[in-house]
């Protein structure tokens, strides 16, 4: 792949938020490392899906990529232009080419602006269109593209249903003719039957306009459906990145495996047969992340050596990039999951005996 095909490249991106104490002097007592060293590349015309649980930093990464939250360190290169050091005026003109779709269409649209005003604002800011009629033409075409009727122009956001509001949000991003769209949880506020409409719309728009997407979502099934490459985040860092199909057929990182096994599939036969890896406990605080591998406190495959004291870097295994010291050994079955930290529970099927399938727990049998 040549550099020309890469639309966005992120190198060692860091976003740290200070934790302050005190009334008069804001002493900084620590940092929440929301994003802590992320590298990724998004090819032109493709979809990059970012998944992870709440608090893993996926939304912050999306906002930092668009410079909506200033990054603490690292670089974001958009079509050959380094964005983090760009002067404000030039950054603003670049913004036309990268737009965002927000999660909750009700709170991201101004309730006192009608749809025409919402859509015109961006056009005026960027000086697109020669006069009012020309802008109306552009807006009309955009409404057609997202499947909203023309009479929507004079209405206000509260007059629409959730799915239609999300279409307005998409139209707002689309009207400027962007190349990159960052969609932060675009469907999670919608009903199931409406979700599918919006997912299909995003797919169609990509086909017809050649858009590049960064889709951020917690729902793996949605991300899997829409993405070419999927990155999995845990506590501010990517733990695995792979082409969609490969990630789902051969997850390499223990966290990815646990995540996959936790997603419910609407099929009783699959649900009864699959093996669940239940993670113990909750996500550690990003203000005080565990040393070494971030995941080692909950990892069923954690080893006594390396995991607790050496932070794994992303390395290539086949077509995937994985941040795990023991990925090959886990994939080959050489390492067995701990019985102590997490249990692999087989769901109770008809006639089968339920029970905890535990691996040998003697210390010598891990390595």
């Amino acid at each position: 792949m040549t550099d020309n095909d890469i639309l966005v490249e992120v190198r060692d991106l860091k976003v740290h938020f200070p934790i302050t104490r005190g009334v008069i002097f804001d002493r900084t007592v620590g940092h929440v490392k929301a994003v802590d060293g992320v590298d990724l590349r998004i090819p032109r015309g493709k979809t990059y899906g970012l998944v992870g649980e709440s608090g893993c930093g996926k939304s912050t990464l999306g906002r930092a990529l668009l410079q909506l939250t200033p990054p603490t360190g690292g670089e974001v290169v958009f079509d050959g232009v380094e964005l983090t050091t760009l002067p404000a005026g030039r950054l603003r003109t670049m913004r036309r080419r990268m737009q965002m779709i927000f999660q909750d269409p009700m709170s991201s649209l101004d309730p006192r602006q009608n749809v025409e005003s919402i859509l015109t604002e961006g056009l005026q800011t960027h000086g697109i269109g020669t006069d009012r009629d020309d802008r109306r033409r552009i807006i009309g075409e955009t409404l057609d593209a997202v499947g909203l009727p023309r009479w929507a122009l004079s209405r206000y956001p509260h007059e629409f249903s959730g799915g239609q509001r999300q279409r307005i949000g998409i139209a707002r991003a689309l009207v400027l003719g962007p190349e990159l769209i960052v969609a932060d949880e675009p469907v999670s506020a919608l009903d199931v039957s409406i979700q599918a409409q919006v997912v299909n719309l995003l797919d169609e728009l990509q086909d017809s306009l050649g858009l590049t997407y960064l889709v951020i979502a917690h729902d793996l099934a949605v991300v899997r459906h829409i993405s070419d490459v999927v990155g999995v985040m845990y506590l501010g860092a990517l733990v695995e990145e792979a082409p969609g199909d490969r990630l789902y057929s051969e997850p390499l990182h223990p966290y990815t495996r646990a995540l996959m096994s936790a997603v419910p599939v609407p099929d009783p036969d699959v649900e009864d047969r699959r093996e669940r890896i239940l993670l113990a406990g909750d996500l550690p605080s990003p203000a005080n992340p565990p040393p070494g591998c971030r995941f080692h406190t909950r990892c069923p495959w954690a080893q006594p050596t390396r995991c607790a004291d050496e932070r794994p870097a992303l390395r290539e295994i086949g077509a995937s990039r994985v941040a795990c010291h023991w990925a090959e050994q886990i994939a080959s079955g050489e390492l067995r999951p701990h019985a102590v930290r997490a249990e692999v529970v087989r769901p109770e099927g008809e006639g089968e005996t339920p029970g905890v399938v535990s691996a040998p727990t003697e210390p010598g049998s891990y390595v």
Partner: protein
């Protein structure tokens, strides 16, 4: 005799100057001991109002009308006075709510909230109640329960709060547990933990569980019987496997077709249901789903479709259901029956309310029962 038998439950909200809203419009279902029954539907289909009505948690004011019956172990919950209802609630019937942060009291420690149930229903006091509360928290998988008892809800994570809520609900070993979207506010890995916990509770204590959710994946893994709701009515009832393998009602078909699946490939288009939940026809004027339905025929509009019972114990409310895969005489006959009766102009009443009298087709008693 089922443990809970909800029969023709109707909830109407009326406001002066506005048309009354029928949030729940004749919902009937039954729950046996140890059974997991799912109520599935999108927002606004009446699934939460159903559970609130059964629990008697709807406000008692002139605008709210609850009709029908909800018979729990011989007593109609809807006819009880407040005092005896409070005796049952929390002891025999308990509920788990969706958002644990807003259903726990933020200014009272967890321990006190758990012991409140024990004091009210099991008469435990002081140290004994504290011991039991710690045991309950331990039972639902909260680490270091003794210390957690003194903590406030905001000090716990979302998953822990939901566990605490489950601990309160199971404190008196209820015979029926109603869970209203218990995992919607949680992350997938935590959701898996909570679902596993609920499964264990049902398996170990024989508690019946009514699971209210919009997530078909959750239903597929947990429920024995599934009721699909749309616009306040049950449109399809079936055992878990038949429902997912051969959905009959077009709404169920649509729901299943519009969920992106983890085990499907990239680029497979989803088949969404057109329109939105707002596009409903009032039930008296026909099938509420008709405006969005892909299998709509003339008979759908005019009068509400009746519940059709099939021989394998499932039922659906549709005059033109999705055909079963393969050659199934029953489906063919029913689909073509209206036109055979009266070719040309078919008045709405020509829709056969009673299924044709073909052997094995008529409404038979439910044969497939819980294992």
């Amino acid at each position: 005799m089922a443990l809970l038998e909800v029969d023709d439950l109707c909830v109407t909200f009326s406001r002066r100057g506005q048309r009354p809203v029928r949030a729940v419009d004749g919902v009937s279902f039954s729950v046996d001991a140890g059974e997991v029954v799912g109520l599935v539907g999108e927002s606004g289909c009446g699934k939460s109002v159903t559970s609130l009505a059964v629990m008697g948690l709807l406000p008692r004011q002139p605008g709210v009308r609850v009709d029908g019956k909800a018979v729990f172990d011989g007593t109609d919950l809807l006819q009880l006075d407040d005092r005896s209802r409070r005796d049952i609630r929390g002891r025999d019937v308990a509920m788990i709510f969706q958002d644990p942060l807003s259903s726990l009291n933020p200014v009272i420690p967890i321990g006190l909230q758990v012991t409140e149930v024990l004091t009210r229903h099991r008469g435990m006091r002081g140290a004994a109640a504290g011991e039991e509360a710690a045991r309950l928290l331990d039972r639902v998988g909260i680490p270091d329960p003794k210390r957690r008892l003194k903590e406030y809800p905001h000090q716990l994570s979302g998953g822990m709060r939901q566990r605490a809520l489950i601990a309160m609900a199971v404190a008196c070993k209820p015979r029926l547990l109603i869970a209203d979207e218990p995992t919607t506010a949680l992350d997938v890995t935590i959701q898996a933990q909570i679902l596993e916990l609920l499964k264990e509770l049902v398996r170990d204590s024989g508690t019946a569980l009514v699971m209210i959710t919009h997530d078909l994946g959750v239903v597929a893994g947990l429920c024995d019987t599934v009721n699909v709701l749309y616009a306040g009515r049950v449109v399809e009832t079936a055992r878990r496997r038949p429902l997912f393998r051969q959905p009959r009602h077009p709404y169920t078909v649509g729901l299943l077709g519009s969920v992106p699946r983890l085990d499907a490939g990239r680029g497979e288009r989803l088949n969404p249901i057109p329109g939105s939940v707002r596009d409903v026809l009032p039930w008296p004027d026909g099938c509420a789903f008709a405006p969005r339905c892909s299998r709509r025929i003339d008979e759908c509009v005019g009068e509400p479709p009746d519940l059709v019972l099939t021989h394998d114990g499932r039922s659906y409310r549709c005059v033109n259901p999705a055909p079963l895969p393969g050659v199934t005489p029953g489906a063919d006959i029913r689909a073509t029956a209206p036109t055979e009766v009266e070719p040309g102009s078919v008045p709405a009443q020509a829709v056969p309310d009673d299924p044709p009298t073909v052997p094995g087709l008529g409404p038979a008693p439910r044969e497939e029962e819980k294992p």
